[in-house]
């Protein structure tokens, strides 16, 4: 368990000291959301209806953007080879890295979401439900992202293929994530979203570890 926390702390320190990466993601998230009123027109009623979907799409895109930092640098400088030979099983290492990835790429977005909610004319109860559904659903996005990043880690142009692979898998997350907001059955959708997140977080480290060890040898 100490090794697990060590990997987590290392990844957090690397991304926080790496400069404005985290802020760039947040900026991207807000800008994508702020572009929508220009595209569909600044109609307050229309914006309020589509706002939860926009927030989810913006979060999905922003999390894609941070994905090649998950395994890419470690693969390039050889750290991944060392991590594979460590005492900690590779799947546990990956679980720690996914957790760190969620903390640096999803948590800031969730914290920044009130700003976007204001721009998109969301009312306060809708905002709280959006906040909750993001909090519950983004771990699944991080987990699927880890599988996509692991599968493409050995490819030089992997940055382009990973989003194509992940997007179909992420559709259920978006469906239940938005469903948990403006729906008469929002509670059931939120439970589904939680189940999806728990399953994805539990299973994806094993799939990602298998992909990484297959791609490397």
């Amino acid at each position: 368990m100490r090794a697990f926390w060590a990997v987590l702390r290392r990844d957090l320190q690397l991304s926080l000291r790496g400069g404005g990466n985290v802020l760039t993601l947040v900026l991207f998230f807000v800008i994508v959301g702020a572009l929508v009123p220009f595209a569909v027109g600044p109609d307050q009623v229309l914006l309020a209806t589509v706002a939860p979907g926009i927030v989810w799409i913006a979060a999905f895109l922003a999390m894609l953007l941070g994905l090649d930092r998950l395994f890419g640098p470690d693969h390039d400088d050889g750290t991944l080879v060392l991590l594979r030979q460590a005492d900690l099983p590779l799947s546990a290492t990956i679980a720690a890295k996914v957790m760190a990835h969620w903390i640096v790429s999803a948590l800031p977005l969730i914290i920044a979401s009130p700003f976007l909610a204001m721009l998109l004319a969301m009312d306060v109860p809708t905002f709280w439900r959006t906040f909750l559904s993001l909090l519950v659903g983004t771990p699944a996005l991080a987990a699927f992202g880890a599988v996509g990043a692991a599968v493409t880690v050995a490819i030089r142009r992997g940055g382009l293929v990973a989003p194509i692979l992940i997007a179909p898998l992420s559709i259920p997350v978006l469906i239940f994530g938005v469903g948990a907001i403006g729906n008469p059955q929002a509670g059931a959708a939120l439970l589904f979203l939680a189940a999806l997140s728990l399953m994805a977080v539990a299973l994806s480290p094993f799939a990602a570890a298998l992909a990484i060890s297959s791609a490397e040898d």
Partner: protein, 252 residues
């Protein structure tokens, strides 16, 4: 005491050598093609002339004889790919990844045809080309997964290394197959529920079931023939790549 030097070979060990596989399965190809052609001839005759019009849909019901086999094959091909993926990951069978790779474009094609014929059928009967209904959406997701897998195969330079990675992703993507299968039971919106493979028997008259089953087998045998031929082609392609690599090494 005699030591068994030649272990008893099962058939899947014997076809593990790509050249052996081609030699063993090449005689199967022409009978498969002939059977497919006969089934298509009979099945198409029944679809166009030997079956009645639907009392509601008229002649448009005949789209079903193309649509249903394609929809079935879109999922069956993925099952074939998933089984091949297990073969690659668990037994490292050399032909499993050849099978997995050559099935992907076929699956994408069948899925695209199922969506296309479904849209053509949906317009006159439901009044819309497309509806975000459970089965259509999950089939569209299946098409995206196929295209992603093809893109993943092409992104790798080394196809042997690609095989295990693609196998992992194929198995992850397999969660979509039960969703497609049960989508019409979970979300009953526009697409009709299962009417052929049901516990209480099919709900169609035999005059419609006959051409449907004929076309079903025709398309399945078409898949088998195309898949086998694509596997042979893939074996040849790898042999050529190996020869090229050796020629480069000799020249260097």
């Amino acid at each position: 005491m005699s030591i068994e030097t030649a272990p008893k070979q099962r058939w899947w060990n014997r076809i593990a050598h790509p050249g052996q596989f081609v030699a063993w399965t090449r005689p199967l190809l022409w009978p498969l093609v002939a059977l497919t052609a006969i089934l298509f001839a009979v099945g198409l005759w029944f679809s166009f002339f030997g079956s009645p019009e639907d009392y509601q849909m008229g002649h448009t019901v005949r789209i079903m004889y193309i649509h249903v086999p394609n929809a079935w094959l879109s999922q069956f091909t993925y099952v074939v790919m998933s089984i091949s993926a297990i073969g690659t990951l668990v037994w490292r069978h050399p032909m499993a990844d050849v099978s997995m790779k050559s099935a992907a474009p076929l699956g994408a094609l069948f899925t695209a045809l199922a969506l296309f014929t479904g849209a053509l059928w949906g317009r006159p009967t439901w009044g819309t080309f497309w509806e975000w209904d459970g089965r259509m959406t999950s089939t569209l997701v299946l098409l995206f997964i196929y295209l992603g897998i093809i893109a993943l195969w092409r992104a790798f330079d080394d196809q042997l290394r690609a095989a295990r990675v693609v196998a992992v992703f194929t198995l992850v993507g397999a969660v979509n197959i039960p969703i497609i299968k049960f989508s019409v039971d979970w979300w009953s919106t526009l697409h009709q529920p299962a009417s052929v493979f049901r516990a209480d028997g099919p709900t169609m008259p035999p005059s419609i079931l006959t051409p449907l089953f004929l076309m079903f087998f025709a398309f399945t045998f078409l898949f088998l023939a195309l898949h086998l031929k694509a596997m042979h082609t893939e074996v040849q392609r790898r042999r050529i790549q190996g020869l090229e690599r050796r020629a480069v090494q000799r020249a260097a």
